[in-house]
């Protein structure tokens, strides 16, 4: 595929527990095109999150290659990989993972601190990102002063602040009520269409999967 942004080639992953290995992914190959919205579904323990972590560069495969945007991320050093993530990946977590002692503004600013942007430029980025998620008026609120849906929107603003090519979302609606979940999915859809973000989303939620362009199922470490 000419415009493929993610290539997972014959990847296996096993975790070591004490003296034996527990296989999680078994010789998986996957390609994601630029601008795609991929939904990964499957029962608990099927390896969805592990696959997502490999694609996002926070974990390394036991075997095989993961190439994202032309970079074989398995070959990068720990430091280079951290830098790569800061530039190319936006993370959205099930439990939002906002830093509780920082305001919405400061949370969104965090990944920008890793860039060479000036304070004024960072401000522009933060304000824009919060505007996109519709929380420009909650900039100076702390996470605990926000609802779950709002927290997740701040987390999405944080994920897009540096304008990464790839967004990875692990059960982004898993902790939300129906309406908030709907809002978040609509927002992700908009980011995909309007801002051309490639999204890989792990989900249990069939409604969430509906929003994805492509849905792949994982079962017992194998891609169906």
């Amino acid at each position: 595929m000419a415009n493929s942004i993610i290539q997972v080639e014959n990847v296996s992953k096993a975790y070591r527990r004490d003296t034996f290995d527990i296989p999680v992914l078994n010789n998986i190959s996957l390609s994601v095109s630029e601008g795609d919205f991929l939904g990964l579904m499957g029962p608990s323990g099927s390896g969805k999150t592990t696959l997502l972590n490999l694609v996002a560069g926070i974990d390394r495969p036991s075997k095989g290659r993961v190439v994202v945007g032309g970079t074989d991320i398995g070959t990068l050093s720990e430091t280079a990989l951290a830098k790569w993530r800061a530039t190319h990946v936006g993370f959205i977590f099930q439990f939002y993972n906002l830093i509780p002692v920082l305001t919405a503004y400061e949370n969104v600013e965090l990944p920008l601190l890793l860039t060479s942007l000036s304070k004024a430029e960072r401000k522009k980025h933060v304000e824009f990102a919060l505007q996109v998620v519709g929380l420009a008026d909650r900039m100076y609120h702390y996470p605990k002063q926000l609802s779950g849906g709002q927290e997740q929107r701040v987390a999405i603003a944080r994920a897009i602040a540096t304008d990464p090519t790839l967004l990875v979302a692990d059960e982004p609606t898993g902790d939300l009520d129906k309406q908030s979940a709907e809002e978040i999915l609509t927002l992700l859809e908009r980011l995909n269409k309007e801002f051309k973000k490639t999204i890989v989303m792990v989900t249990h939620d069939p409604r969430a999967a509906e929003k994805a362009h492509t849905v792949r199922h994982l079962d017992k470490g194998e891609l169906k």
Binding site: E78, F93, N97, L110, L113, L114
Partner: protein
């Protein structure tokens, strides 16, 4: 790029109690550490200020202090004939042969018991040699009478030495006719009288303990030393500047306080370090997901390490600041204890110096680094996936 400092500072606020307890631990250690060094510095300062660099004190080489030194009249006369001995307007040498003895006096307070006090018999030139000693109450003792003037610290701390009282020692009764102030020097802890009266009372006719004279020029010590070495009759004696002599008297005591104090505080500090370590380990455990998130976003291991080290160092520095502030209040207190250099009671105050301040801050930083290092390393080495999974 570093994890912002406000992250660290606000985390303090979010767990006020544990932070406060840890800071208290460090504060107490810094306080004790500083107090001990201030005590030692106080002894040094008092005794160093006692002596002048313009005066030379001569004592027997083998003597440990003034009370164990003996200088006979003949020696006194030989020394007085040296050209380096300054002469007063009356043509007489500016010199005092002193007799120094130690007596027992009861301390003020029911349970305080008795303690040693230095009694110094001086010649007339003594007040010219040591102008810091002034009679501030009552009058000067009369030469040829069994009268004494008492240093201010002695008046404060001992019974029966106040103006108008009489003291029994050396087989006689001595009237207290005046109180002296010696500007916080060691002479404040002494009783002074006429040397000939003391020689008589203690059967030391024809002998002094030490002799002190003013040099015609303050840089003549080397010449004087050479003169002592070249003269057979003076070889058993050693001339030193008065300042150096009293400084040596402070060494044993100051070093003893320092060594004992540092030994104790190092033990205390182990407790404070363990406290800081527990706090920091708890901080890491509570924030595992945050650490995982920061690392996923792209913050490096060393940024996480730095953030937690900063946190631990800040705890230590805040503790140091409070501890030093408390210790600085000790400067208003004076203490009195036995100075083993002279075997008698010496009063001195806690003295804070820039050096002590630096030591205390460095000590606190070391506690912060030691307590924070392992938890910070643990935070930095967390596996991102595992850290995120602990949500």
């Amino acid at each position: 790029m570093k994890i912002p400092l406000k992250y660290t500072l606000r985390n303090f606020r979010s767990r006020r109690l544990t932070t406060a307890i840890t800071i208290t631990g460090i504060t107490l250690v810094v306080f004790v550490f500083t107090a001990v060094l201030m005590l030692a510095a106080g002894v040094r300062k008092t005794l160093v200020a006692t002596g002048s660099t313009e005066n030379v004190i001569v004592a027997r080489k083998s003597a440990q202090g003034e009370i164990s030194s003996i200088i006979l009249n003949e020696t006194y006369n030989i020394v007085m004939s040296l050209p380096q001995v300054a002469k007063g307007s009356d043509g007489k040498p500016v010199a005092s042969g002193d007799v120094v003895v130690v007596i027992n006096l009861p301390k003020i307070g029911a349970e305080a018991g008795i303690s040693n006090v230095t009694v110094r018999g001086v010649s007339q030139a003594a007040f010219q040699l040591r102008p810091q000693v002034r009679v501030v109450e009552g009058r000067m003792f009369n030469w040829g009478a069994r009268e004494v003037v008492v240093g201010s610290s002695i008046t404060r701390r001992f019974e029966g030495v106040q103006l108008g009282s009489t003291i029994k020692f050396g087989g006689d009764v001595w009237s207290v006719v005046g109180r002296t102030d010696a500007g916080g020097t060691g002479f404040d802890s002494e009783i002074w009288g006429d040397v000939s009266q003391l020689q008589d009372a203690f059967s030391r006719q024809g002998a002094f303990s030490t002799l002190t004279f003013r040099m015609t020029n303050p840089d003549q010590l080397d010449q004087i030393k050479r003169a002592f070495e070249e003269d057979n009759r003076l070889q058993q004696f050693e001339p030193k500047t008065e300042k150096a002599f009293f400084e040596e008297q402070s060494q044993f005591m100051a070093i003893f306080i320092e060594v004992l104090g540092i030994f104790i505080t190092v033990f205390f500090s182990v407790g404070a370090i363990i406290g800081a370590m527990i706090t920091m380990y708890a901080a890491v455990a509570n924030r595992t997901v945050e650490i995982g998130t920061l690392r996923a976003i792209g913050f490096r291991r060393r940024s996480v390490l730095a953030a937690f080290m900063t946190e631990s160092l800040l705890i230590a520095l805040i503790g140091a600041a409070i501890g030093l502030f408390m210790a600085s209040g000790l400067q208003f207190f004076t203490v009195s204890t036995m100075n083993w250099g002279s075997f008698s009671e010496l009063e001195f105050s806690f003295t804070l110096t820039v050096e002590i301040l630096t030591y205390a801050v460095v000590f606190a930083i070391l506690m912060g680094i030691t307590g924070g290092f392992l938890p910070a390393v643990r935070a930095a080495r967390l596996n991102i996936v595992n850290a995120l999974r602990s949500a």
